[in-house]
C-alpha cells in the first residue's frame, strides 16, 4: 500500500465514522466518504459514480458479473464465450456454470497470448448471453483487443464483461470506449488495501445480486460497506490516475532494463508475449534447464520476491493454464518466472536481479542432468 492510502484509512478505524446507511450525522459522514471514493474509482476508468459497485475484491466482482448476468439471462440462452487464459476467478466460475448445464466456448489464444476478435464473432450463437474476456493477462501481461470485442458484442447485443484487475492503473482504461457492460477492478492491485474491489456496471444493466440483504450498493451488493477499505481504494485510485503516465513509463523502462539485461547475461531464456501489446509492469520469462520453484526460492533467499508457473509450485501440481494455452509444454512451463514491477521499484532493484539471477540459473543448471554447457 502507498503511505497516502493508509494515512487516509487510519482515521476511519479510530471510530470517528458511523454506518453509511444510518441517517444520523456520523452515518452521513461515512456516506459522504463513500461517495467521494466512488467518484475517485469511477474517474480512474471513466465511469459514472452510480455505475460503481463496491465489493470484496476482484474475485467477487468477476463472480457478480458472470453469475449476475447468467441468472438474469438464462431464459434467453445459456451460452457464454470466454478465453483459456482467464484468471481463476473467471475460469472456475465459468467451469461451475458448465457443470450446471451452461455451454462455454473456451477461445484459444495466439502464441503471444492474445484472443482474436474474429474468433469471438465466430463463436457467437443465438443463445449467447455473455462474453467475458480479461483486459490484460495476470501472468504474461498480454493486452486483449477489448475495444474490438466490445464492438462485436454491442453489434450482437450480448453482454460483455472484462476482468480489468491487472490492467487498471497500469494502462489507460475508458469503459465507454472499450464498450464493456461490466468491468472488474481490485484495490490491492493499485496499491490500495486488500479485501476491496469494485464492479463497473453500465447504467441500465440488469444484474442479479449474489448477496441479498439490506439492499446496499443500489441493491447490487447487500452488506454494510467496508468503509475504511473503500476510502483507501478511492485514494489509491486517485493516485493511480494522477501518476499513470509518468509511473508506467518508469516501470516500462525498468522492465526493459530487466529483460535486456537478463537476455545479455543468461543464455537460453525466452520472454513470453514479448511481441504482444503488453502491460508495462509484467515480465514472464522461461529459463531452460532450471525449475521455477527453485529459482523463486533462491531469489527469495536473496530478498527478491517473484512467482512461477511451474507445476512444482502450484497446489494442483498442474503447470500454469496460461502458459499451456500459449502452447508451452509442461517442461517449458517448469522453468517459468514472473516478475511484477511497480512504481516504487528502482533501477537498483532491477540491477540486484541482474546481479544475482545469472549465478542462480548457472548453479541450478549445473545440477541438471540434461544441461550441457555451451
Amino acid at each position: 500500500m502507498r503511505p497516502e492510502v493508509s494515512a487516509a484509512m487510519i482515521p476511519i478505524f479510530s471510530g470517528d465514522f458511523g454506518n453509511p446507511s444510518s441517517i444520523h450525522w456520523f452515518g452521513q459522514q461515512a456516506k459522504s466518504l463513500l461517495d467521494e471514493a466512488r467518484q475517485q474509482v469511477a474517474r480512474l476508468i471513466r465511469a459514472e459514480s452510480s455505475e460503481i459497485v463496491f465489493v470484496s475484491g476482484g474475485t467477487e466482482a468477476d463472480n457478480l458479473a458472470i453469475r449476475g448476468i447468467a441468472e438474469t439471462q438464462k431464459a434467453k440462452g445459456r451460452h457464454i464465450i470466454t478465453s483459456r487464459i482467464e484468471h481463476h476467478a473467471v475460469l472456475h466460475t465459468c467451469k461451475d456454470l458448465e457443470k450446471q448445464g451452461w455451454e462455454i466456448t473456451w477461445l484459444n489464444v495466439s502464441p503471444d497470448g492474445q484472443v482474436d476478435p474474429e474468433d469471438v464473432r465466430r463463436a457467437l450463437r443465438p443463445d449467447t448471453v455473455l462474453i467475458t474476456i480479461m483486459h490484460a493477462n495476470n501472468e504474461i501481461g498480454s493486452i486483449q483487443p477489448i475495444e474490438e470485442i466490445g464492438t462485436i458484442a454491442a453489434q450482437a447485443d450480448v453482454y460483455f464483461h472484462s476482468d480489468g484487475v491487472q490492467s487498471t492503473g497500469k494502462i489507460p482504461v475508458d469503459v465507454k470506449k472499450l464498450q464493456v457492460d461490466l468491468y472488474s477492478i481490485s484495490a490491492h492491485k493499485i496499491h490500495g488495501p486488500k479485501g476491496v474491489g469494485a464492479l463497473y456496471v453500465r447504467k441500465g444493466t440488469t444484474l442479479k445480486p449474489l448477496m441479498t440483504g439490506g439492499g446496499h450498493e443500489r441493491n447490487r451488493r447487500s452488506g454494510t460497506e467496508n468503509v475504511a477499505g473503500i476510502v483507501g481504494f478511492g485514494r489509491a485510485a486517485q493516485l493511480a490516475r494522477e501518476g499513470l503516465e509518468s509511473e508506467m513509463e518508469h516501470v516500462r523502462q525498468l522492465r526493459d532494463r530487466l529483460e535486456s539485461g537478463l537476455k545479455a547475461r543468461i543464455p537460453s531464456i525466452h520472454i513470453n508475449a514479448e511481441s504482444a501489446p503488453r502491460l508495462p509492469n509484467t515480465s514472464n520469462i522461461m529459463v531452460d534447464f532450471a525449475e521455477g520453484e527453485g529459482l523463486v526460492i533462491s531469489l527469495d533467499l536473496k530478498g527478491i520476491a517473484v512467482s512461477t508457473g511451474s507445476a512444482c509450485s502450484s497446489g494442483s501440481l498442474e503447470p500454469s493454464h496460461v502458459l499451456t494455452a500459449i502452447g508451452k509444454t509442461p517442461d517449458e512451463a517448469h522453468g517459468s518466472l514472473r516478475f511484477s514491477l511497480n512504481a516504487m521499484n528502482t533501477a537498483e532493484d532491477v540491477d540486484d536481479v541482474l546481479e544475482v539471477l545469472p549465478g542462480i540459473v548457472e548453479r541450478l543448471r549445473e545440477l541438471s542432468p540434461y544441461y550441457k554447457r555451451a
Partner: protein
C-alpha cells in the same frame, strides 16, 4: 517459507552433486507428478554402496531430498539402501509441506531403480 533451514541448506549447498565416472549402477527417474528429473550414479562393491553422486532438475525440495538421500546411502548395504523410504528422507530434512511430499519420492525411486540389477 515452509521449508526447514536444513532443507534449504541442502538446496543451497547440495552434497554429492555431480557425476561419477566409474559408476556401475545408474538410474534416471522422472517424477510423474510435476516433471522433476533425477539422475543417480552409484559405485557398488561387496554388497555396499561405496560412492554416489546425483543430478536433479527440479524444485528446491527435489534437489535437497536428492542430495540428502545420495549422501545418506554412501556406505550402506544394498538391502539397507533399498529400504530407504520417502518419509525417512523427508523427516530427516525437517518434513515437507503437504503439497511437496511427492518430491521426496524421486530419490527413493532412483535408489531402487539403480539397484534393480544387483542381487
Amino acid at each position: 517459507m515452509a521449508y526447514s533451514s536444513k532443507l534449504l541448506d541442502y538446496f543451497e549447498n547440495p552434497r554429492c552433486a555431480g557425476e561419477l565416472p566409474d559408476a556401475n549402477a545408474i538410474a534416471e527417474v522422472a517424477n510423474p507428478v510435476c516433471g522433476d528429473v533425477m539422475k543417480l550414479w552409484l559405485k557398488v562393491a561387496d554388497d555396499r554402496i561405496v560412492d554416489a553422486r546425483f543430478k536433479t532438475q527440479g524444485c528446491s525440495a527435489a534437489i535437497a531430498t536428492s542430495s540428502y538421500a545420495t549422501e545418506m546411502i554412501i556406505g550402506m548395504r544394498l538391502t539397507e539402501a533399498r529400504a530407504v523410504t520417502r518419509e525417512q528422507i523427508a523427516d530427516a530434512l525437517g518434513g515437507l509441506p503437504q503439497s511437496k511430499m511427492h518430491c521426496s519420492v524421486l530419490a527413493s525411486d532412483a535408489i531402487r531403480t539403480a539397484l534393480k540389477d544387483f542381487k
